[in-house]
Symmetry: C2
Subunit: 151 residues, 2 copies
């Protein structure tokens, strides 16, 4: 399986939002209608102009099969370190159970190593029991509570 | 109690690293020796030059009593939104139990609102049971597992 990883472009947005919407949690909070809500375009521009953020799409035979976003963050803690935060991991429903997710995560982990990060972190909704098992299998440890406060 | 919030400067670094070290988890992983390890200076420079990162110190009567770091992150999810990640929250041991932490967090939440964020998030080590109660009292919900992978 030859996956291709690249940065998302504005031309991918409609498909990416469809992917975010095709999800038990995402379908309650996204708006995949065309033309796309400007808020998606604005968010994409902000991501695209920030060297510490990368929105990555994954293709298989020219089909978009997955996405994730990584954020590199410098911290004083751990004797001054960079950390890589992963968010918005989605695999197209037709391409699940084939190892795409694991390869995508390994790619993100490699990018974090290349940047010199000492840690990769992410949060996963406790309702997503499959995702939680997936991250544990990859070696992630659920040592922390993931707190959210909606504004 | 009149707390003063300001961005950290390089002159604060020795005191900030001492604060990070004076902690059951931090004392195992920080290096408060003077002169400071260059890695702290480099991390501070990276934070300071990134408009989406702010290292905030809190003073009471000209004493440094607390610190935290906020990171603003643009995401496609939630119809294109900004999120505020809080990390490295520390209160000086002499100033605990006086409401400093709550005021500090409320200040950070206000900065997130000013930026237009729709969510504030943070992770807290499951060993920090006092911190977990503190965040729950402030209205944070531990809806997510906080996964870490050391590199």
């Amino acid at each position: 399986m030859e996956l291709v990883y690249r940065s998302a472009t504005v031309e991918d947005l409609q498909e990416l939002v469809a992917l975010l919407s095709n999800d038990p949690l995402g379908n309650q909070r996204e708006d995949p209608a065309a033309p796309l809500n400007d808020a998606y375009i604005n968010a994409f521009d902000a991501i695209n102009h920030d060297p510490n953020n990368q929105l990555i799409v994954v293709e298989l035979n020219d089909c978009l099969v997955g996405m994730l976003q990584i954020t590199f963050i410098p911290y004083l803690t751990h004797i001054g370190s960079w950390r890589c935060l992963i968010e918005g991991v989605r695999i197209h429903s037709h391409f699940r159970g084939q190892g795409v997710g694991e390869k995508m995560l390994q790619h993100a982990i490699q990018l974090a190593k290349n940047k010199g990060c000492n840690m990769v972190q992410l949060t996963s909704d406790k309702q997503r029991t499959d995702a939680i098992r997936f991250y544990e299998k990859l070696g992630f440890k659920a040592t922390h509570e993931g707190f959210k406060l909606a504004l």
